[in-house]
């Protein structure tokens, strides 16, 4: 009975007893969720447009942030460094298309997926070789990102909001809105969706795969850069970030691989679920359950709805 009480009653008593704490935890979860969602967004972009499950998205986040900080440390002014990093991401998109994707057109998905594994390892090695493996400070104040926090009094306590988190949420929503509009209403957006359906069919109606892939990898690069800046400003820029990128996978599962809103909603659910679970139920299991809770939520969800919240249902015919 005692264990049942601890699992089913006690956590809710705690929530009711200290609502300000609950809101604080919720907020932290939401912010974490936004950043997961941003990484997931990069995945979705590439998956939608090329059918490639891009495992390298996480390392692209690290690579972009490292390039930015590394250039600044070499004495380049902050905004010039930002512009140069965008250039580097364009170069990366172009070379990925040239070297990796073009020779693999129309291969099975799993082969393309494994190719992005290769890309991941290559980028880890390259990044460490050029910029060194030690963690770095993100140049947040030089990019005019806000610092400090706001305290909002609530329910007799107070909730602390970091300004950088608010900025992250705003930037993320702007980016998502922009991308959604781009996919829905422009010519290129339509071409992207055609490519996602079938490489062969898209080629045969005269869509340039090369152009589309460069565009979409570049867009994912920009998303990666934004994610890297935000995440770097919250903690620091290091290769440990790529483990966090693996967290984007359950987000994708929850949201569906092809849906931009799915990435956002999935990100928020995972972010909040993880924080609440860790804070209220974690002590029962000995803490640290954050590392697998997201996967378990996703796995449980998969069994009931394999295509995700907003994903397209795949109908198989013979």
């Amino acid at each position: 009975m005692d264990i049942l009480y601890k699992i089913f009653i006690d956590p809710f008593m705690q929530m009711g007893g200290a609502p300000d704490l609950l809101i604080q935890v919720l907020w932290e979860g939401l912010v974490g969720g936004v950043l997961y969602a941003l990484i997931a967004l990069g995945f979705v972009l590439i998956f939608k447009a090329s059918g490639v499950f891009n495992f390298a998205q996480g390392i692209m986040v690290v690579f972009a942030a490292l390039t930015l900080v590394g250039l600044y440390e070499k004495g380049v002014p902050a905004f010039l460094a930002l512009a140069l990093t965008v250039g580097v991401m364009l170069l990366l998109a172009y070379s990925v298309e040239r070297i990796v994707l073009k020779p693999l057109v129309n291969q099975p998905d799993i082969i393309l997926f494994m190719a992005t594994f290769g890309l991941t390892y290559f980028l880890i090695g390259l990044g460490e070789l050029i910029f060194g493996g030690s963690p770095k400070q993100m140049i947040a104040s030089q990019l005019y990102l806000p610092k400090g926090s706001i305290d909002i009094p609530m329910f007799g306590g107070s909730v602390m909001l970091q300004k950088i988190d608010i900025a992250a949420a705003i930037i993320a929503s702007l980016m998502v809105a922009g991308l959604a509009l781009f996919f829905q209403y422009t010519r290129i957006g339509r071409a992207l969706r055609a490519v996602a359906d079938s490489h062969k069919a898209a080629l045969s109606v005269g869509i340039s795969l090369e152009q589309i892939w460069v565009i979409v990898w570049f867009a994912a690069g920009i998303v990666a850069l934004a994610t890297g800046i935000m995440w770097g400003a919250r903690s620091e820029v290091s290769f440990a970030l790529q483990i966090i990128a693996l967290k984007a996978l359950p987000v994708l599962i929850l949201g569906g691989f092809t849906s931009i809103p799915g990435a956002i909603v999935g990100g928020l659910i995972i972010g909040v679920g993880e924080k609440i679970g860790e804070f209220y139920w974690g002590p029962l299991l000995g803490n640290g359950i954050e590392s697998w809770l997201a996967y378990m939520i996703a796995l449980a969800f998969l069994l009931f709805r394999p295509q995700g919240l907003f994903g397209e249902k795949i109908i198989e015919r013979i």
Binding site: L104, I111, F117, T120, G125, L302
Partner: protein, 358 residues
């Protein structure tokens, strides 16, 4: 000229169905086994045996395990490291609970624990496939990783949180790492790997292997042919995890001597996946090639340049290894998706018709 099958007629179904139908292949296999069992133990130094051969064999076994799942059944797994960990921890628990039973028995038994866990995490595979299943195996990876740290029972409430291999004997010889004789440990690992490879080869060429391959090539078609998908997929998970578990137990008991949960993290899983990709998906001999390449590459990078008078810092070696492995994966996927095993096959075919191209 040496490698030509002229005059070798097959007069029975048995010889036609043989795995090595050509006499030279059988002789070659015999020579390889002779070198492995006799020449290396007699003439090899401790460095070769301890730092190269033992881990190479152990990783080959893990690669065979993953190859059964990914190469033969087409189910992508990112949880190999965790399944190896289950084997290692199970073996540790068993041998500390029952210290009088021979350690080799427990090494094999630990495979069954790993197989059970593998089946458990393979259960979703009927409902989900492809990338989704990869994420399910990743869930296994992170969950088990967490268990290895947070469940003190697994490491006998040690203050260090690591498993220390106790001293175990076999035929009055100390065989457990790190104090056992390298040659004895090598021979034990080699025997286990050879026997298990032989068993794997038999499974793959038999009915179960055919079923796995049918599921890999087209699961719907396989189902229509009357292959039940769930038992087939689960059997692949079980056999694969069994191999991974045994290799994990070998890794800790015959090579490291002690291990923390770190050894079995997600990077280990990736490492073994790379061995399978580079070696060749769906090929047993490829598993050995891949393990050799991925495992020996850093050693070569570390020692060869310094021998040539171009010392590279160890950090740089690590980065270069990452870059080379990454580019090699891409290169192989583009140029030869069946990996080194396919190159080996092509070489043999060329030799067969040499010196005439047809």
């Amino acid at each position: 000229m040496l490698y030509r099958e002229a005059g070798q007629y097959k007069t029975s179904y048995q010889s036609d169905q043989a795995i090595f139908p050509i006499r030279q292949d059988r002789i070659g296999l015999g020579i390889i086994l002779f070198i492995a069992f006799v020449v290396i133990p007699v003439f090899g130094n401790d460095f070769l045996i301890n730092a190269v051969m033992i881990p190479f064999l152990i990783f080959s076994l893990a690669a065979i395990g993953l190859n059964i799942l990914t190469g033969y059944t087409g189910l992508l797994s990112l949880g190999t490291g965790a399944f190896m960990g289950v084997g290692a921890y199970a073996c540790y628990k068993l041998t500390t609970m029952f210290p009088n039973v021979n350690i080799l028995v427990w090494v094999i038994c630990s495979g069954f624990f790993s197989a059970a866990v593998g089946v458990l995490f393979g259960l979703p595979s009927l409902r989900i496939k492809g990338f989704y299943l990869a994420v399910a195996t990743l869930a296994a990876q992170f969950f088990l990783d967490w268990c290895f740290i947070r469940v003190p029972w697994l490491y006998n409430y040690n203050s260090s949180g690591a498993i220390q291999v106790p001293e175990r004997r076999f035929l009055d010889m100390l065989i457990s790492a790190p104090n056992g004789q390298p040659v004895v440990r090598y021979l034990i690992v080699l025997s286990i790997v050879v026997v298990m490879t032989w068993i794997a080869s038999n499974i793959i060429h038999g009915r179960i292997g055919r079923m796995w391959m049918a599921v890999r090539d087209q699961d719907l078609a396989a189902e229509l042919m009357g292959i039940r998908l769930l038992p087939t997929k689960l059997s692949a998970f079980a056999v694969s995890s069994f191999y991974c578990g045994v290799s994990g137990a070998l890794l800790v008991f015959f090579w490291y001597g002690a291990a923390e949960s770190d050894v079995f993290n997600v990077n280990q899983s990736f490492q073994i996946l790379f061995m399978v990709i580079i070696g060749g998906l769906g090929s047993l001999v490829g598993s050995f090639f891949g393990a050799a390449l991925i495992f020996i590459l850093p050693i070569v990078l570390r020692y060869v340049p310094s021998m040539l008078g171009l010392p590279i810092q160890s950090a740089t070696v690590e980065h270069l290894t990452f870059m080379i492995i990454g580019s090699m994966i891409i290169f192989f996927l583009i140029v030869e998706p069946h990996g080194l095993a396919r190159l080996w096959q092509i070489a043999k075919q060329k030799l067969r018709v040499w010196p005439f191209p047809y």
